[in-house]
């Protein structure tokens, strides 16, 4: 028990040191990217190595994700849980696509273009109907100022996006109202979101570099 805790502490310390060192090296590679003769510096090479490892690990994570997906749905079928039929269909499709890719690698993209792409496009089309119906029901379920503002804004954006049939562009709507709403109003909000994300990313990076946040050691 004591040895286990000691080992855990050693692992935690080692992982923290590795994480901080990796961050510092990658960050330093931004400032010392090249030598005087224009060749890549040692820090750049180290950074590239670390990034390559990260790409490999991320690719392997996809493979692990596929295996986890297979395992979860296989257990559902074993336990005969609700919706196990769909799990069975998912596993069959997964195995068939994999085998089809192995047998006929040149024809594998047909599975994508004939099955996956139409399905996802159909879902997006259904989303159009759903959003329209939700907009209609909005004032019935929640009749307040924000709901009205939301609907009016959506209508103005739609009116300014395309000219009306047989009428063309509405004066002032497509060239002023819609750009104002999309570029000024929505852009202001988007900039705020982006600034917040940048500050959050910077803070998170600094905390990891300082060892304040150690997500790689689990709950410690």
């Amino acid at each position: 028990m004591k040895r286990t805790s000691l080992l855990s502490s050693v692992i935690a310390i080692a992982s923290t040191a590795i994480a901080i060192a990796s961050g510092v090296l990658v960050l330093a590679g931004y400032f010392f990217a090249q030598k005087a003769d224009g060749q890549a510096s040692l820090l750049t090479n180290i950074r590239l190595t670390l990034l390559n490892w990260a790409i490999i690990l991320a690719g392997f994570a996809i493979f692990i994700g596929i295996l986890s997906l297979f395992q979860v749905h296989f257990k559902k079928i074993q336990n005969k849980q609700k919706g196990s039929v769909y799990s069975l269909l998912l596993i069959i499709s997964l195995v068939a696509t994999f085998l089809f890719g192995l047998v006929k690698p040149g024809q594998a993209e047909k599975v994508f273009t004939t099955i996956q792409l139409p399905v996802e496009a159909s879902l997006m089309a259904l989303l159009t109907v759903t959003l329209t119906y939700a907009s209609i029901r909005l004032l019935r379920r929640r009749f307040n100022l924000l709901s009205v503002i939301f609907l009016v804004t959506a209508l103005l954006i739609l009116l300014g996006t395309a000219p009306l049939p047989f009428l063309g562009d509405l004066p002032g709507l497509s060239d002023w109202v819609r750009p104002f709403l999309a570029h000024v109003m929505a852009g202001a909000g988007a900039r705020g979101i982006l600034l917040g994300m940048a500050l959050g990313t910077l803070t998170t990076g600094l905390r990891i570099l300082f060892g304040a946040d150690r997500p790689y050691v689990g709950n410690k």
């Binding site: 590239l48 990260a54 996802e120 496009a121 209609i136 982006l194």
Partner: protein
């Protein structure tokens, strides 16, 4: 016994003296308790010596004859005396009323209890003191036989109500004790002072006679001679008695210093001056029905013990034989029982001793009720004489049974109604109720109607080919910049095209990107395709070769490995993009079909990202577009970044265009249509954007109408539902 203690000054005197050698007070008592002494008084109210019929043999002749006359012939009593005696007989209450005049019984005759036999006998042996004392009273009964001094006393009774008594005391002369001298001083003292100094029985007598003075005075005045003549005939012994009275008055002033009524130590001192003959009487008279100084409600022995200590002096043999127990046995029990002759001795106390009893003087004639007997009368302090004011002892106050309260709640009708209503509410809350399932009308019909209208709005223009709208005249500046950059690309220039969109939005992205790609491919560049989405490589191949996606782009017939290289999927997200930005060859060394990509002609001369002539990012996700801008921006150099984005990410990508990090931007179908309107092919063919534009315009119009009308209708129905619901609630 060395001598006789003076009852007044307390000093010792030789036994042979009759008067105190210091204060000249009478040393030998002449008093005896009355036979009809009230038990309320307990102690003898007045020491008036009386004679008894039983002791007639010992009495002198004149006195014995007086006794016979008094018993045999009552008609011989004068009217004034008869009225006086009759009044007393009629009003006297043995239990509660103050005792009548000592020496006078109910019939007006002299009386003496059995207990008075001894002193009566001794009184008989002392004719000097007994004769003048008893003569006046006997003279009241025997008219013709009364002596002169008695006649004078009778005249005094006419002058004032108590004058006869005072004169009677005066007539007693030196033979009467000091209590009788106090009695003799009462006529001249005020009533208040009389109440303090006189015994109780005398005070009561004054009160009674005072109330009856109006009736009795005329009788006295008509039958009795003037008092002036009587005073002139005062005998010598009466003069001596007057002198004793004067001396007693002086002694009375001294007695006030004792303040016997309120101070117990004074009582002890006073008791020390008691004569011997009184020493044994006090314990016998302890049970009293009057208003004693301390009432032992529960038979407490504290007063008795105190008296024992006070009277623990040398007593004569004849008194020592009288034990307190015997006296207690003879003492009548109860408040209303008259005293028996056996306890006559127990009530013998001179007036000055009686006066020392504090409560007797304060609460004169007060009758204690049985409840008061059970309470304690205060002896000292401002509460002296008040009984039942303070508890018997600390913590022993009124011990009473705790009150019993009714357990039945007294409520009014209104309170009962409210309680019933509350009970109904609570009982209804505890009962399970069937939850009403909120019926949300799915309104499948409306959904089908909406779907049908939208499908018709999109499909009909496509099928019929009817142009219902005009081409957009708007040319966004970002689109114009993109068009300019594409137009400025040199021939066979390496261009990196990033396909980072999902199949769901492929229709929008392909339609928006087709004019730009058509324009680009007309320039003859070398294309390098890469994607950070797993489906991106397939979508890239589809856009380049599938005529359904874009016949104009597919019409260029670009060959993999010759005009373009598909590097496939770039894993790692931002890290992968960064790695590709730093070292593209190491990040994506192979083509989609497994060839060495960087050895192929399209990638010749490309070492780093900045070696590309342009980077075009097709994305429907703001994050992926932001990653490319942020990660590749530091290494891309002067290579422009162009983007073809979905309309939904325009607000998030547009700030990068405003900041100059991206040089051109084509947004959605409207942007593609605008780009197509800008770029006119040499053969004047139109792309998908122009074909979809009518459907797009009609579809948006239908959607707007549905949303507008439906929203108004929903607002109205919602308002009506809320109104109905509020009406039901009321």
């Amino acid at each position: 016994m060395a001598g006789v203690l003076c009852p007044m000054c307390g000093k010792s005197n030789p036994t042979e003296l009759e008067n105190c050698q210091f204060c000249d007070a009478r040393l030998t008592p002449l008093s005896a308790s009355t036979a009809d002494a009230s038990p309320d008084q307990g102690l003898p109210l007045g020491p008036a010596p009386t004679t008894s019929s039983d002791s007639s043999g010992d009495l002198p002749d004149w006195l014995s004859g007086l006794g016979k006359a008094a018993s045999e012939d009552e008609e011989e009593v004068p009217d004034w005396l008869a009225s006086l005696s009759g009044e007393e007989a009629g009003t006297s209450v043995p239990a509660s009323a103050p005792a009548p005049e000592p020496g006078l019984n109910a019939t007006g005759s002299l009386s003496a209890g059995p207990g008075g036999k001894d002193w009566m006998a001794r009184l008989g042996s002392e004719p000097q003191s007994a004769t003048p004392e008893t003569t006046p009273q006997s003279g009241l009964q025997g008219k013709g036989e009364s002596p002169d001094w008695l006649n004078q006393l009778k005249e005094k009774a006419i002058d004032s109500e108590l004058a006869p008594l005072g004169d009677e005391g005066k007539a007693a002369g030196a033979d009467i004790p000091d209590w009788l001298s106090n009695f003799g001083s009462t006529p001249g003292t005020p009533e208040a002072a009389t109440g303090e100094s006189l015994p109780e029985w005398l005070s009561d007598l004054e009160a009674k006679t005072g109330t009856e003075s109006a009736a009795s005075a005329p009788i006295f005045s008509s039958e009795l001679p003037p008092s002036s003549s009587a005073r002139d005939e005062t005998p010598s012994w009466l003069s001596q008695f007057q002198a004793d009275v004067n001396a007693a008055e002086e002694q009375e002033a001294k007695q006030e210093q004792f303040d016997a009524a309120t101070q117990p130590p004074a009582k002890e001192n006073g008791t020390g001056t008691l004569p011997d003959w009184l020493a044994g009487i006090k314990p016998a008279s302890t049970p009293s029905d009057g208003t004693p100084a301390l009432i032992a409600t529960d038979g407490g022995t504290a007063p008795e013990e105190k008296d024992d200590a006070a009277f623990s002096m040398e007593i004569p043999d004849w008194l020592s034989k009288l034990k307190p127990e015997q006296a207690a046995e003879n003492t009548p029990e109860g408040d209303t029982e008259p005293s028996t002759p056996e306890n006559l001795e127990a009530s013998e106390l001179p007036s000055w001793v009686k006066a020392m009893r504090p409560v007797e003087s304060v609460v004169d004639g007060a009758k204690a009720t049985p409840q008061e007997n059970a309470q304690v009368t205060e002896q000292s302090g401002p509460l002296a004489g008040l009984s039942g004011v303070l508890p018997v002892g600390p913590g022993m106050g009124s011990l009473r049974k705790p009150p019993v309260y009714s357990t039945i709640l007294q409520v009014t009708d209104g309170q009962q109604r409210y309680a019933d209503a509350l009970e109904r509410l609570i009982s209804s809350e505890t009962q399970p109720q069937t939850a009403k399932r909120a019926h949300l009308a799915s309104n499948q019909l409306w959904r089908w109607v909406i779907s049908g209208l939208l499908i018709l709005a999109v499909v009909l223009p496509l099928i019929t080919g009817i142009s219902v709208t005009q081409a957009s005249k708007l040319q966004p500046p970002e689109m114009v910049n993109a068009f300019t950059l594409i137009g400025n690309l040199p021939t066979n220039a390496p261009v990196l095209v990033v396909f980072d969109y999902d199949p769901a939005l492929s229709a929008e992205l392909e339609t928006a990107a087709a004019p730009l790609m058509d324009h680009l491919m007309l320039q003859g560049p070398r294309l390098t395709l890469i994607s950070t989405s797993p489906t991106g490589p397939a979508l890239a191949e589809r856009l380049l070769h599938d005529t359904s996606a874009s016949p104009l782009v597919a019409g260029h017939n670009y060959q993999a490995g010759q005009q373009y290289v598909n590097l496939g999927y770039l894993a790692g997200g931002p890290s992968g993009v960064l790695y590709f930005a730093i070292s593209p060859a190491k990040a994506a060394p192979f083509t989609l079909d497994g060839q060495q990509a960087w050895q192929l002609p399209p990638l010749q001369g490309i070492q780093k990202l900045s070696d590309f002539a342009a980077v075009i990012v097709l994305t429907d996700n703001a994050d992926s577009g932001r990653v490319w801008i942020e990660q590749a921006g530091s290494t891309i150099g002067n290579t422009p970044i162009l983007m073809v984005i979905s309309a939904q990410v325009e607000p998030l990508i547009l700030p990068y265009y405003d900041s100059g990090q991206i040089k051109g931007l084509v947004t959605g179908l409207a942007g593609g249509e605008a780009y197509g309107q800008t770029f006119v092919r040499p053969d004047a063919q139109t792309g998908l954007a122009q074909r979809y534009w009518n459907s797009f315009s009609v579809g948006i119009l239908v959607a707007e109408l549905l949303v507008l009308v439906g929203a108004l209708w929903s607002a109205f129905t919602g308002w009506r539902a809320r109104r109905d619901k509020s009406g039901e609630g009321v």
